[in-house]
């Protein structure tokens, strides 16, 4: 990321550009008011298995829209909020939600360092894409690599209600930053369904105090980006009337290593994640368990022109590193072994028709069903191991 300091330090001589500023009057805070938004409509077609709706017949049940406002009433005080609408087949219920709503207090603001606190609902900095995962043009493809950014339990890791400490420092060798979130995550019925095997349990799963931290480095205004993310996201189950489960605890602890090269034409991105999941005290129906999953992807994108970009990606997910191909899982549960991993080759093409309108197309060849949702594929006997996915997206921004 560049800072205003970089701008101030930038060499001036020998250039045909000159910098100008206003007459020296005191600024009006109303001039800092901004609004932005986006909407996208997608089409998803699969050869087997369902993803974002009844995709084997072709699904239009994937729509995203967002609208945000921000204002800076004082130079060290900012307010920002975004409302998000999402329709995602049977992955989750159609909803309008507050995506983020923050009061930003900058305690330190100099040309080389900034630090402060954001209060409210803050997005979790998990990997390179989570904070803007629902914004089509901030993604490299229609679907983010599902090994790390799985859509089937997305809301749990999306944001926390609490706060974020942030700091940035521009050094001679690049920018270093730190973000640390503390708060309560949003838990919805999709997590409950995945964990407890059904959405309509008598009790309720609710978020408990959780932590997400990211330390990162950026060189040359984003030419090279490196980040390390560590998180401990926590939820608890409160029992209801004649509940088969007892008051259990759920922990999700991912560690993500991220690296990106973003050149004039070529971008290369890779992320690697280790994910620890732990369930405890749910009672005899759901014995205590702890397992570690592993995810990684490598992605290349090439800007053929200023408007057209092509991408290719290889994305791998293992739900359990001690049973990578699910043989043990199949023996114990009778469900297919290939629902415990997925290897996904993706090629895609994006075209920015105008600065506001973008179309994208992509094709996935997937081996394994590791990131498909039970809500969309209720009969494990009907899952197929090798399948194809084709998607189209039209998006508009302002």
């Amino acid at each position: 990321m560049i800072s205003f300091g970089d701008l101030m330090k930038a060499g001036f001589t020998g250039s045909s550009l000159f910098f100008f500023c206003c007459p020296p009057l005191s600024a009006d805070w109303k001039d800092t008011f901004q609004y932005h938004g986006f909407i996208s409509q997608n089409f998803v077609l699969t050869s087997e298995n369902n993803f974002y709706g009844d995709s084997q017949d072709g699904s239009f049940d994937f729509t995203e829209a967002g609208f945000n406002v921000s204002v800076r009433p004082l130079s060290r005080l900012g307010l920002a909020a975004q409302v998000l609408y999402r329709r995602a087949g049977e992955l989750e219920d159609e909803e309008v939600r507050l995506d983020y709503g923050v009061l930003d207090v900058t305690a330190l603001d100099t040309s080389e360092a900034r630090a402060g606190v954001r209060f409210g609902r803050v997005k979790n900095p998990l990997g390179l894409y989570n904070e803007t995962r629902d914004v089509p043009f901030t993604r490299p493809s229609i679907f983010l690599p599902q090994s790390i950014y799985f859509d089937r339990t997305r809301n749990f890791a999306l944001s926390v209600d609490g706060g974020q400490l942030f700091g940035e420092y521009d050094s001679a060798i690049g920018q270093f930053y730190l973000k640390a979130n503390i708060g309560v995550p949003t838990v919805d019925k999709t997590l409950e369904g995945l964990m407890l095997g059904g959405r309509n349990r008598p009790g309720e799963l609710s978020g408990k105090l959780s932590y997400v931290g990211q330390f990162g480095y950026s060189y040359g205004g984003g030419l090279i980006r490196l980040a390390f993310t560590a998180a401990a996201v926590h939820a608890g189950y409160e029992t209801g009337r004649s509940d088969p489960f007892s008051e259990g605890d759920f922990w999700f602890q991912p560690y993500i290593f991220s690296a990106q090269y973003n050149g004039e034409r070529l971008s290369l991105t890779g992320e690697y994640a280790v994910r620890n999941t732990r369930l405890k005290y749910f009672g005899p129906l759901l014995p205590n368990m702890a397992f570690t999953g592993e995810s990684y992807y490598l992605q290349g994108a090439y800007r053929l022109t200023d408007e057209i970009e092509a991408m290719v990606r290889y994305d791998v997910l293992y739900q359990n590193v001690n049973d990578r191909y699910g043989e043990k899982f199949e023996r114990l549960s009778g469900k297919p072994s290939f629902s415990r991993f997925a290897k996904d080759w993706t090629v895609g093409l994006g075209w920015n028709i105008t600065p506001s309108w973008t179309v994208r197309a992509e094709y996935h060849r997937v081996h394994g069903a590791g990131w498909l949702a039970v809500t969309e594929n209720p009969d494990p006997g009907k899952l197929e191991r090798d399948w194809d996915l084709f998607a189209l997206q039209l998006s508009f921004r302002f």
Binding site: F4, G11, F38, T110, T138
Partner: protein, 97 residues
């Protein structure tokens, strides 16, 4: 572009030309040491995560000059040929704070 205020506390309002403008591309490359699409991605990430604001868009050089001259706390860039008395040049030195 992360800094919010001038030294006297006046909020900074940044104006840029469209991504496709050769003047904007030159500004990004020569003065920010980055490509226009990197600047766009950085700003998009800030705006759509609630962690920052975007620069204001000026469609043409003439509009840029008019907006800078009438907006308090504004900063932007202009080619030499577009300079007149409505805007105040600022000198940018190596190592300036």
């Amino acid at each position: 572009m992360s800094q919010h205020s001038w030294q006297d506390g006046t909020p900074v309002v940044v104006f840029v030309l469209p991504d496709s403008s050769p003047i904007h591309k030159e500004f990004c490359k020569k003065h920010l040491g980055m490509f226009a699409h990197q600047l766009r991605q950085t700003w998009d990430r800030k705006v759509f995560s609630g962690t920052g604001q975007a620069p204001e868009l000026a469609s043409t050089v003439e509009e840029m000059r008019a907006l800078i001259s009438k907006t308090p706390g504004a900063i932007g860039y202009l080619p030499e040929s577009a300079i007149n008395r409505t805007v105040r040049p600022i000198t940018i030195h190596e190592g300036a704070r």
